[in-house]
Structures are given as C-alpha cells and as structure tokens.
C-alpha cells in the first residue's frame, strides 16, 4: 500500500525549521498548511460541546434567544423605548456581539485547556485560538438562521440594498477577534488572571459600551457635550455593531410607538461613513493581528514547559 506512492527518497518534501526565532510569515505558512486541522478542531469543539445533549446545537440558539427575550421585555415593554420591533434592532447587535465575545472568551482559555495536546503534539498553536473563533462562527451561522426567522415572522424588511454591509462589518470583526483571541490565548498561559479579567470585561463593560441594547442616538448628545464621541468610537465594536444594525434594522429613523413622532435610531450618516469606519477598524485589526502573531510566536516556544 505504501509502495504505490513512489520512492520515499525522491518525493518532494517540505523543509521545516524549529528554532527560537520564527518570523510571522513562516508561522502564517504553517497555519495555512494546517487549515484542515482547523476544520477538524472546530468540528470537534462543537461535537464535544453538545455530545450527549438531546437538543444539541439548538442550545446555541436557545441561550441568545433567552437574552434577547429578557432585554426585549425590559427595554421594549417596561422602559418603553418606543422602538417598533425593538427585538430586531436588539438581535442585529447581539448577533455580531455574540460572535465576537464567544470567540475571544473561548480563545483565551484554549491553550491552557488543551495542555495535554500542546505538550505532546506539534502543530501551529495559533490554530487552537483560530478554532475557538471558528466555532463561534458556527454558532453565529445558526443564530443568523434564527434572525432570518425573526425577520420573516415579524415581516420586517432589512435594507436589502445594503446587505453587503453585513460582510463589510463581519470581516473586521473576524480579524479583530482573531487578533485578540490569539493574543489573549498566549498571555493567559503565563497569567491565568487573563481568563477572569476577560470574562468580566467582555461580559459586562465592553458589552454595554456598544450600542446594542440602547441606541447611539440616546448617548450622542451627552457624548458630544463632553467632546467624548471619539472615545465612544475608540471602541472598535461600536461602529461594527452600528453597521450591522444599519443593514438589518435598516431604518435610521422610525415612528415612535408611543408619541407617533419620528424617532432617531441611527445617525443619518452616508453609507460611506460606515464603510470607512469599518475599514479603519479592519486596519486596526490587522495591526493587532500582526502584533498578536509576534507575541504568540515569542511565547509559544515555552508553552509546553509553562503548562
């Protein structure tokens, strides 16, 4: 069976160098060579997570739906923010946020949790972090399906002509999540506090710093009064979330269900502003990813002994 493949001596071989200084390019090449492993790891992660559970993947839709329901009731019904089909607005933000937060939260602990693997098997360790983001991507896909159902049931039309913006926002989110995930995964090996810190920050502060539950318009006046608008957009997720909402909720101004007057939900920026904002985040994300790769490359050499 092995003889059929021709001589071992003459077939082409890849040369691999193991040393203390590996450059980012070499690492990227190795990651690319292991792309199949990435697929397997994502599949494994999801399979293992829902093994022996009756509902399986449905849980990945139940949990965010629950959050959605709570916020919709509290803000839509109790606090009466006056937005028609508030749940759609909410869902557009949460959809993107969940992908990002689940991704980096899982990625942070991924090297530590796979200590057995890291200590015994050689493969580009970044793959582990990427697989965590990848599995978050799978959940994102399933939640998107739920979103489609919501849109259909509530007969809410997104901005069809702007649908490409979904991709424009997704790419920077993905790059950002990969950069941050890789960085945090490496740092967490040396400082286990990172895991807890990230859980606290991402779970609360960062979530509320994004216009997901509330609208940007509600904080805009306050922000510009103190000249802090720039700070708000220093949070790269703000503009990405807003791009998502601009597409899926689709309307910058709606009719208030309480006063029946106009209610501003999103700023009346031209679409190019959103695109440029996203592009800026993408640029930042790429720089972050590069830095993360450098840091990870430095730290990865000692993973096996630190774990």
């Amino acid at each position: 069976m092995l003889g059929a493949k021709g001589s071992i001596a003459t077939r082409p071989k890849i040369t691999r160098v193991v040393s203390a200084d590996t450059n980012v390019r070499a690492r990227l090449q190795e990651i690319w060579r292991s792309h199949e492993l990435l697929v397997y790891l994502v599949r494994t992660e999801i399979k293992v997570k829902y093994k022996n559970s009756v509902l399986g993947l449905i849980w990945s839709m139940v949990a965010p739906s629950m959050t959605l329901a709570v916020y919709a009731v509290v803000f839509g019904a109790f606090l009466r923010n006056g937005m028609p089909d508030f749940v759609i607005y909410l869902f557009s933000g949460i959809l993107l946020w969940n992908f990002f937060s689940t991704g980096i939260l899982t990625a942070t602990g991924v090297v530590v949790n796979n200590a057995g693997l890291v200590k015994k098997v050689s493969f580009p360790r970044e793959i582990l972090a990427l697989a965590a983001i990848g599995s978050a991507g799978v959940f994102f896909f399933f939640q998107s399906c739920v979103m489609v159902i919501f849109l259909a049931v509530l007969q809410w039309a997104p901005a069809w002509s702007l649908l490409y913006l979904v991709l424009v926002a997704m790419v920077p989110t993905l790059v950002l999540a990969c950069g941050l995930g890789i960085l945090l995964a490496a740092v967490n090996v040396y400082m286990r506090d990172t895991q807890h810190l990230v859980t606290v920050l991402v779970g609360s502060a960062w979530f509320w710093a994004c216009p997901i539950v509330y609208t940007f318009q509600t904080v805009q006046t306050l922000l510009s009064a103190h000249g802090l608008t720039w700070l708000y957009f220093a949070n790269p997720m703000s503009i990405l979330v807003m791009t998502f909402q601009r597409t899926l909720y689709g309307r910058p101004t709606v009719t208030d269900t309480q006063t029946h007057g106009p209610l501003a939900v999103l700023p009346h920026w031209p679409i190019t502003t959103y695109i440029w904002g996203d592009a800026a985040v993408l640029g930042f994300g790429l720089v972050l990813l590069y830095v993360a790769m450098v840091v990870f490359g430095r730290l990865a050499g000692n993973f096996a002994e630190e774990l």
Partner: protein, 470 residues
C-alpha cells in the same frame, strides 16, 4: 541517499526552574522582575545529522535530555539556541494517543490525529482501512475513544502514526505497547519503514533494541552529546557512563537498602550483631545470648566488601551450627585488564574471603550467577565439583575460577553461600556483581559462537553428521 533528513544544529535548551511559580497578576506585580529561578540546561550545544533512510537511536540515562531533544525535533519545544531543520513530514510519537479527543469515536480521532500530524483528509482516507486493521479495533472503530481499553487506545495511537506515511518517524520509548504479538507487529512495521527508506529517530532505554534496529546511535549525558557512532560503540559508551555513575552495578541501591534496614530495625540488627560478635570471640558461653537474639533482618550485601555489620541471610541460631562466615567476595577480571567490565567469553575469578570459628572438615561453597531480572544462569557448588574442603579456624580464602563467561550485555549478580554438615552457615545475595559488554551486534543473554553460510546440495548429500534436533 546522501541528503540529510534531520539536522540538529547547536541545539541548547534552557528550562527555568522557579522556586515559586507566580502565575497570578497580583503575584506578578509584587514580584515583578525578580522571580527567583534557577537555570537548568537540559541540552547544551547538541549537533548531529541524520541521513535520509537512517535509523538513529538516542541513548542516555534519565534526565540526560533525550526527551527534550526529541521534543525540540518534533517542534513541541523551541530550542533556546540553535535550530533543527527537518526535511519532509514528521510524525512524532511522544506519547501514544496524545491528540485523542475522549468524546469522539475512533474513526473521528483517526482523522483528527492524522491532520494533527500534518496529513490531509485524502491521505488519511487512503490509509484508513490499514489503520483500523493494524490497530485491531474492528467494530469498535465507531465507539467513543473514552470507552476503549488502554490497550486499544495505544494501539490506535501507534497505528495512526505508522500508517499515515511520514518521511520521518520520531518515537519516544513507546515501542513496548500491547501484548507480545502487537509489539512484534510494531517492530515489523518499524523494519518495513527502514526498508522503505524512511528516517527513524528513537529514544530507548533498551540497548538491545538500539543494537538491533539502528544504523547509528547518539549518546547523551547531562544534556551534552558525548558520542555518536555505530550502535555497538554507542551502547558501550552509554554503559561505561553508567558504570562511572555506579548505576548498573546496583551498589547504590544495595547501600540504600542496607541503610534502610539498619535504620528501621536498629535494635534487632544490634542484637544479632552482638550475638555474632560474641559467637566469633567465644563460641561456647555466648549460647544463651545468641538464642535471645530475635531473627535477623534480611540485608543484602553491599557490593564486594562485606563488613561485620551485614547480618547474614540465615537465621542466627546456635553458633555451633554456623561456624563459617563470609567476609569478602570479589569478582576479579583477568589480570592486566584496565576495563571495569568483561568481554563475552573472558575468564572470571570469584574470590571468597571467609573466617571460621573452629575447624570444620566438610564445607561446601555454593555459587550462583543471576541476571538483572533474577533468572539463575548458572549454579554450582564444591560438592557437585567433587571438591572436598576442610578448613581450619581463622581466616582463609577460596576461589571459583570460571574459565569463560559466555554472556552478553548486562550486569550479573553473583550469590555465594557456605554450607557445613549442619546446614547453611552463611549466604550473601548478591555477594558481588560483574558487568559484561558486547562489542558485537548480537543480542540476548548467552554468547554463542556462530558461523553461517549457504550450503550447496552436494555438500548436503555428502554430509552425514547430526540428526534433526526436534
């Protein structure tokens, strides 16, 4: 041929040993920049090359850096300095089944593990049936791995690594898995790899295996490479190192055992010692005291010299029943030898010093040679040899002269006893030890001279000697 498959260039690896590990943020801040640590150089400037199609063994004691070196070659660890260049796909077996996911089935794990070793789904598809067959899993292939027996688990691990078509196979002491039949199968597969021209690097504690499989071997000691060469030479170097450290001779363990014995039972040991001492000085009057002494503990003799402290194996009874005591047993290499070991077939003299409290006219000396697992290889005594020995009171010396010791590699124990008509008078186990090193490539225990060759039918017809043995 002629191309290098693995180049290890000046590889050094430093481990930081922290006295206290600070992994939390608070501790890091408090101890910023001054975490107390010691540097441990697990590898220091190791360089060697492995040609394509070669099988190279790595020998070394525990802690000599063997596994660290393999991990650097596999890429699990990065060397602190230097680099390793690997040409071709490398499959590392640092631990069998290391990449397995408990929750997944055997089938899924084969694909996962295969891709971890750097093989595509297509590669694994092609090898899948071979892997399952090799691992002898049959219908269990679709069961979750967590329900596998440990045997099934390691068989699957081995099967994946050796069936996915690597260019370089790196094995860390994992060849001894499964039952004997499976081990044989593993060895056969390794030999098939050799025939196919794949490169194999492996770490082993078993010099026999290195001799058997390798074309070359590297010897590590304390992180440094002390030699590279033919397997016979490397094994000799490795064992000479062990000898210097006094490990194989077991002297250290024997001493430790002695320490424990005398430490744990001081009263008993003292009591019996007294009894012996008294018996030596004045055989008659000591009877009462000797009878009071409780049973002496079993204490193995420490190396060659037996001192007065070592209590004999036999029950101390009436001194009349054990008048002869062994004082010193030594293994003497042939005169003029500067080595500390024998070559196969060399003569050996075992010199026994004894002391008798009275004249005995019928003494039998017993000799036993055992290997490291306690198998008796040879036993004889002076009665069997037809020797009549009578001894006078006081010290004396006796010798067993072995004309030839046809043994191969190993450390061997010599047990000695002296018996009188009234029973065993003294017994030392082990009384001394000797070491044999084989410069050739034969493995096993016994050195048998061999000639081999083809026989022509004519010669066969002409020959009439010998019947078939079985």
């Amino acid at each position: 041929m002629g191309t290098t498959s693995v180049e290890v260039q000046e590889v050094s690896k430093r481990f930081r040993l922290y006295h206290e590990k600070y992994t939390s943020l608070k501790e890091r801040v408090i101890h910023a920049g001054r975490v107390p640590h010691e540097d441990l150089w697990a590898l220091r400037g190791v360089s060697f090359e492995v040609e394509e199609g070669e099988t190279v063994g790595i020998l070394g004691r525990n802690g000599s850096g063997k596994s660290t070196l393999l991990k650097c070659i596999c890429g699990v660890l990065q060397p602190t300095a230097g680099q390793v260049v690997v040409r071709g796909k490398l499959a590392g077996l640092l631990e069998l089944g290391a990449g397995f996911q408990q929750e997944l089935s055997g089938r899924e794990n084969i694909y996962l593990n295969g891709s971890m070793l750097g093989f595509s789904k297509r590669d694994v598809d092609r090898m899948f049936d071979d892997i399952v067959e090799f691992a002898e899993l049959g219908q269990f292939i679709d069961n979750q791995v967590k329900f596998y027996s440990s045997g099934m688990y390691v068989r699957l691990g081995f099967a994946v690594a050796v069936n996915v078509d690597p260019d370089v196979l790196v094995i860390d002491e994992v060849l001894a898995v499964g039952d004997e039949r499976f081990q044989r199968k593993c060895m056969e597969r390794v030999k098939q790899f050799q025939r196919e021209g794949r490169t194999i690097l492996f770490v082993s504690h078993a010099p026999d295996l290195v001799r058997n499989l390798c074309s070359r071997a590297v010897v590590l000691a304390d992180g440094e490479m002390i030699g590279v060469g033919s397997p016979g030479e490397a094994v000799r170097l490795f064992r000479e190192r062990l000898l210097e450290a006094g490990d194989v001779l077991g002297a250290r363990e024997a001493e430790a055992a002695l320490d424990v014995a005398s430490h744990e039972m001081p009263a008993v040991a003292a009591g019996s010692d007294d009894a012996i001492a008294l018996a030596d000085v004045a055989p008659g009057p000591s009877t009462a005291m000797a009878a009071e002494a409780p049973g002496a503990p079993f204490v193995p003799g420490a190396g060659a010299a037996l001192d007065q402290d070592a209590a004999p194996h036999v029950r101390p009874g009436h001194s009349e029943s054990r008048p002869v005591r062994l004082t010193e047993v030594s293994c003497l290499l042939p005169p003029g030898t500067t080595r500390r070991y024998l070559l196969p077939g060399e003569p050996l003299t075992i010199r026994v010093g004894f002391e008798s409290s009275r004249a005995v006219d019928e003494v039998v000396y017993q000799l036993e040679i055992r290997n490291d697992v306690g198998l008796a290889l040879f036993a004889t005594d002076t009665e069997v040899l037809g020797l009549h020995c009578a001894i006078e009171p006081g010290p004396g010396t006796f010798e067993f002269r072995l004309g030839s010791v046809p043994l191969l590699d190993g450390a061997y124990d010599v047990n000695l006893g002296v018996q009188t008509a009234r029973g065993m008078s003294d017994w030392r186990e082990p009384a001394c030890q000797f070491e044999v090193m084989n410069p050739g490539r034969a493995t096993g225990t016994v050195a048998i001279p061999v000639e081999a060759g083809l026989v022509s039918p004519d010669a066969l017809a002409l020959r009439s000697e010998g019947t078939v043995a079985s």
